[in-house]
Subunit: 333 residues, 2 copies
Amino acid sequence: MVAATLKDVAELAGVSVKTVSNVVNGYAFVKPENRRRVEEALAATGYRPNVGARNLRRGRTGFLALVLPELSIPYFGELAGLVINAGHDQEWNVLIEQTLGTREGERATLGALGPHMVDGAIVSPEALHANDFEELSGGVPMVMLGEHAVDVPVDRVGIDNVRAAEVAVRHLVAIGRTRIAAIGQHPTRGTAALRLAGYRSALTEAGLPVREELIAPALNYHRRDGATAMADLLALPEPPDAVFCFNDLLAIGALRAAAERGVRVPGDVAIVGFDNNEESAYSLPSLTTIAPDKRAIARAAVDLLRRRVSGEEGLAPQQVHVPFALEIRESTS
Amino acid sequence: MVAATLKDVAELAGVSVKTVSNVVNGYAFVKPENRRRVEEALAATGYRPNVGARNLRRGRTGFLALVLPELSIPYFGELAGLVINAGHDQEWNVLIEQTLGTREGERATLGALGPHMVDGAIVSPEALHANDFEELSGGVPMVMLGEHAVDVPVDRVGIDNVRAAEVAVRHLVAIGRTRIAAIGQHPTRGTAALRLAGYRSALTEAGLPVREELIAPALNYHRRDGATAMADLLALPEPPDAVFCFNDLLAIGALRAAAERGVRVPGDVAIVGFDNNEESAYSLPSLTTIAPDKRAIARAAVDLLRRRVSGEEGLAPQQVHVPFALEIRESTS
């Protein structure tokens, strides 16, 4: 098939080449009737705009990278869908790269990105060190998702994790629980440290002791890790009457471990999660959880990248906190 | 800013243009010291290798598109992760596009792809017509995921849906159920028609009547649609004693609708799903389900594309059936 040209489309539509160009390039101020005729002619001719050439003129590749641990983790699947949509609004197509959440995986992925490939990257790191960022970000504007202990001079978007953890634990205190456990302690995850700090401060604020035996580690944040940690907590001489899990997958695993032992939720143990994965509204019992505004995270990240890519060089690194809410469901009521 | 050239980089690094070229093109056998100096010079000059030109030499863009309904649907999140991994093995980065499963979304996405952007596309269609494919695939090799009624001359990868549905329903017959319902009838989804055909044939084979009132439609295949359909089935004068759901999300919704009405699973109603999402091993009760070999789907799709892209033009369209298994869990035992 011989490729149709702008001129072919213009002739078929009965408009000027300039009008076709305006429609193809997405400019506003094209008369609706002309836009309709051009769109019909575009469809009829199968015209394909040379996006490569257009991006070259703009100095863009037209691609964004989204770097995350694993798409099979529901939080990241849901977030990635929202980033793709937000990217499209800025005429970006989104490449997705998976790191498995290891420092080696994160280093290898960032090291392979370059300005020839993408205009920018949205990175959800779990194990990167501050100097990894400086070493590897060469030339590609980056926005980091989530709060992390590492202090790097890049834009960041996330919720206030300390405050969110406090809200979760205060809710467990408010329903009368006194032996409140935490699942998700982790040696290198930045958000684990922040959620643990919020857990401790909310207990202290309520006049409850922080019992180290009630703080359970999780090697990963998958469902099976939550089940293992919950089994350990329920085997204690004095088991907890509530558990704050650092993500929903841990909480789903904890629900199952409780059910397998005949422990009633919330009767014997109340459970709160974190992330508000779609499945958490349907689990039995449904899960009370911290719900970050994922759509706001996706939009803020893409918007910050747009500002960086369009060359707002003087802009200091931004830290954007998006809203969150506590979704109260059956697992605590 | 004037663009830096390979020569600028070579001068700054104090190495030959050939060495810079070797680093930029990712060839091995560059002395570590030279690699370091080139990388520093690349960063200092902001040099952008013309990957477009490199891939042009190879006749590739280096990108694959994965076109699917929604990443927030766990089946697609899990599958996308596997396609990204399989793509990397062939030096492809994977762009992900979401269609929401509508014909308009699928047409718009395929129409926007072109050989300037991607080397090929892996498409999981839900509503496309055969002539949409012919009209829109212009120049981009495509592999279709799943079985569909539409007869299009492209490679396809999926499981044998009729047989998988028969296996699911035979299992319900084998545990003694006689009023077996189906959730997921749909006017345009190709796999729905195939799964329904398998449901009907397994019932007939077992000497059980096909009762039309036990075949429940689902407008979408989300959890809420399963809950709605199950509520309708349980309100029948003679409710079913088993339900075969056309995906796991429908089954998760059905589990909740049963629990909310005090209907025991599997005591009163046994439930089988389809897809083997990770969450289905942790639901309460855990879900018996058809488990397609998703890794095999991802690998076969990427491998077929590689053959098309490398120009095996004479190859007739392939249809690859990958294995599946019935995972028997608590919801039927």
